[in-house]
């Protein structure tokens, strides 16, 4: 294993774990709207280190996949998780619909959250962007179904 691979894996795994922990903390917060649902058989999250993704399900039944493109800006994740990712793609599938809605958070000056490739919110950190995107996904679901 060369050090580049080791480093890239470290950043990727750190990001996935931090996002997972953040989602759990929102699920546990009784005042927060986010509520996770099991994927199947007692499993709440799936991680695919080859595709660099984290999968989970929002209640009532929205499948979400987050793809992380790790960056090379950090050697630790304790300080600022934003330094660990270049792009975060958030894809959500509503029940009975094949095509996902897509959001993207991009690192930059300032960091941006895009909705279906259009700039939506600027100057937003990664975990806030994730939360805003999921909230928007839930709002659209409640309006449409």
């Amino acid at each position: 294993m060369n050090s580049d691979n080791s480093y890239k894996s470290f950043i990727l795994h750190s990001c996935l774990l931090r996002i997972m922990d953040h989602l759990k903390s929102l699920h546990y917060d009784e005042c927060h709207w986010l509520y996770l649902k099991e994927l199947s058989g007692g499993v709440y999250f799936q991680t695919d280190w080859q595709r660099q993704t984290l999968k989970f399900r929002l209640c009532p039944d929205i499948r979400v996949e987050i793809e992380v493109h790790p960056s090379g800006r950090s050697s630790t994740v304790d300080v600022n998780i934003d330094n660990c990712a270049q792009v975060l793609s958030i894809r959500a599938w509503y029940p009975n619909l094949d095509d996902p809605v897509v959001y993207k958070w991009e690192y930059g000056n300032p960091c941006k959250l895009k909705k279906e490739d259009e700039d939506w919110i600027t100057d937003i950190n990664m975990l806030n962007a994730l939360e805003r995107a999921l909230e928007d996904i839930m709002k659209s679901y409640n309006c449409s179904f």
Binding site: Y7, S14, M20, L36, G41, V43, T47, V77
Partner: protein, 245 residues
């Protein structure tokens, strides 16, 4: 607070064997019976029994709860522990103590530490059931729910660990099973997409001979630096992933 230690169970585990003759018991009697069933199903009280007793008693517990579902709440939720702080670090404190008390050889402690790390790579993906009586929520039980493919390996590690901790005895047969099957366990977990190597806080960028470090430090009765151990296990697992097809 009488919350009992986690017990591992296979999935699916819900069976419907009834306790119909007791159905009209007053609620206090049901709660009293619950205490007994909860204690019987706790892993701490199962260490003198064969392994299959765990599954049997947990099934008994679930069927009891389903029979009295108006009295109990079963809340399924994602597991909540922070792996490194709440789980892994504490296990290392115990391993240190077991080695310095000469209950465990450093060589076996290295193996068990590695297996705990592998267990922890799966653990954050899973769920737990919190079962509690509606009127006595403090008398709750926490049950880890494990996909059936991974159950045999994980339940044996729990069993080995508690036996080591409580009885101060290493079960060599179970350790042998864990040795023979840990790669299979990893591959199955990767296929299920519930295996994420837990990253250390930072990557120090140097390698070392972990086993030698364990031997030296433990023989000198110096505490092992668990952050280095996490890093070493992490690098080892990432190497495995990169060669895994």
């Amino acid at each position: 607070m009488t919350t009992t230690t986690a017990v591992t169970i296979p999935w699916p585990e819900h069976i419907t064997v009834g306790y119909t003759s007791d159905y009209f018991k007053p609620e206090e009697d049901v709660i009293s019976k619950w205490r007994g069933i909860m204690n019987k199903a706790s892993l701490l009280n199962l260490l003198d029994y064969p392994l299959n007793e765990i599954e049997k008693r947990v099934n008994e517990l679930y069927s009891f709860v389903h029979t009295y579902e108006d009295i109990f709440i079963v809340e399924r939720r994602p597991v909540s522990d922070n792996m490194l702080k709440d789980h892994f670090e504490k296990h290392y404190d115990h391993l240190n103590k077991l080695v310095s008390d000469k209950i465990l050889l450093p060589r076996d402690a290295v193996k068990i530490g590695r297996y705990i790390y592998l267990y922890d790579c799966v653990y954050p993906h899973l769920s737990e059931d919190i079962i509690k009586p509606r009127k006595n929520p403090e008398e709750s039980m926490r049950i880890l729910v494990i996909p059936s493919k991974l159950y045999n390996w994980m339940v044996r590690l729990d069993y080995l660990w508690f036996k080591l901790l409580i009885k101060k005895k290493l079960d060599r047969d179970i350790l042998g099973y864990l040795d023979e099957n840990y790669e299979r366990f990893m591959k199955d977990a990767i296929k299920l997409k519930i295996f994420l190597p837990i990253p250390p806080k930072k990557l120090h960028g140097r390698r070392f001979d972990l086993e030698e470090m364990f031997w030296r430090t433990w023989f000198r009765k110096v505490e092992v630096n668990w952050e280095y151990i996490v890093e070493n296990f992490y690098r080892e697992i990432v190497s495995f992933l990169l060669t895994y097809e």
